[in-house]
């Protein structure tokens, strides 16, 4: 493996960690998943030699590992331990609106969170997202539409009690 491959892999790690958190709901589990994913990736670097953006490839590995292994583990744990956690450092985000959106995002279903992250935040093409998730593009589009609708509804509903509290 060349130094260039190493550097591109290293640079993709923050995005991989962020996706792993969306996948697992838990920062510790997420980092264990990242570790598994990187070890797997290192044995297969020949598949992506020279590819400029390694995120889609890493996300695909992470998604499959999570489906095959981590989800099974998670189901063995009591539900309280896997309650969604607020986005890391949400309290440090100065802007109230960010907090609202981040809080609402955490309450969405796994499918909706993933598609919003991959399309909206990571800015990946619809076709690329479909490959990562192993579903047709049409499914990505309908999930995206439902996810945006659900997120918007949560944010709208959150506004009202907040306004009442502030007076």
């Amino acid at each position: 493996m060349s130094d260039g491959d190493d550097i591109r892999l290293q640079r993709a790690i923050p995005a991989l960690r962020r996706y792993a958190r969306v996948l697992t709901h838990d920062p510790h589990q997420a980092d264990d998943l990242v570790q598994d994913c990187l070890e797997r990736a290192l044995t297969r670097m020949h598949q992506v030699r020279g590819r400029p953006d390694l995120r889609p490839w890493l996300f695909t590995i992470a998604f499959r590992l999570n489906v095959s292994h981590w989800r099974r583990l998670r189901h063995l744990m009591p539900l309280t331990e896997i309650a969604p956690e607020p986005v890391q450092d949400a309290t440090q985000i100065p802007h109230l609106e960010w907090k609202e959106v981040a809080g609402a995002f955490e309450r969405l279903s796994d499918d909706h969170r993933q598609v919003l992250l991959l399309v909206g935040v990571e800015r990946l093409e619809y076709g690329t997202v479909a490959e990562i998730l192993g579903v047709p593009v049409g499914t990505v589009m309908s999930r995206l539409s439902r996810a945006r609708t659900a997120l918007h509804r949560l944010i709208e509903h959150e506004e009202r009690p907040m306004l009442r509290r502030v007076k």
């Binding site: 190493d6 980092d31 890391q88 450092d89 959106v101 909206g120 945006r148 944010i155």
Partner: protein, 251 residues
Amino acid sequence: MTPPDRPVTEDDLQAWVDEHLSPERRRTVEAWLDANPDARRRVTAWRTERNLLRAAMEVELRQPVPARFDITRLKQRRGRHFSIPQMAASVLLALSVGLGGGWLLRDREVPLGLASVEQEATIVHDAGKGSTIAEGNVAQLAAWGGRTLGRPVRPPNLSAAGYHLAGGQLVTTDHGPACVFVYNDENGALISLFVRPMYGRDMTSPMRPMQHMPGYIWAQDGLGISMISDASVRNLHILANRARDLMAGAS
């Protein structure tokens, strides 16, 4: 090709949010949104929320990456995945340095001939799982071993069977110096090849299975040799035969 003025769909609205529309299609969708203010409010809110989510999640990208995800380190770790490193290395060191031989076998009946090779090989295999020298030094080890053992010792090339020489170690046994070569395959399965000169007894001996470990032992041309595997290695007998043939050809 679809005409640019085909009816606007839900997918178009998502693509508007994500800025994936072609310029022509974008004009069509904009015109449609002008005529449908409710839809425009909806997609504008989606885009705002997407931007807010991006901003909120941007924070995560700026967190320092823990040292455990350092690629250089991870690669080094992969290189030695058959390791029980430090302890085994120190045991081998004790075996190989200065203890004069025999301490491991003290208070026991010291076996002779091929039986002693078997015992030593077992000890070394157990102890040596993590103590390898770098691959580049194997030739050097073979040369050094050859000098110490008083005759050329060349590790057989087992790569055709999927086993690659991963390292080796020079050790001292009750019966003088011995060479241990370690091979592994892609799955990390491990075999060790233990080689030492025989002294007057069992100079040549047919191959037989070892008693307490998955392994085979034999002597050829005055060298006692054993091949020992992790339990996961299959066809060890065939591998041992191949090693014997290769070593016979080399000398």
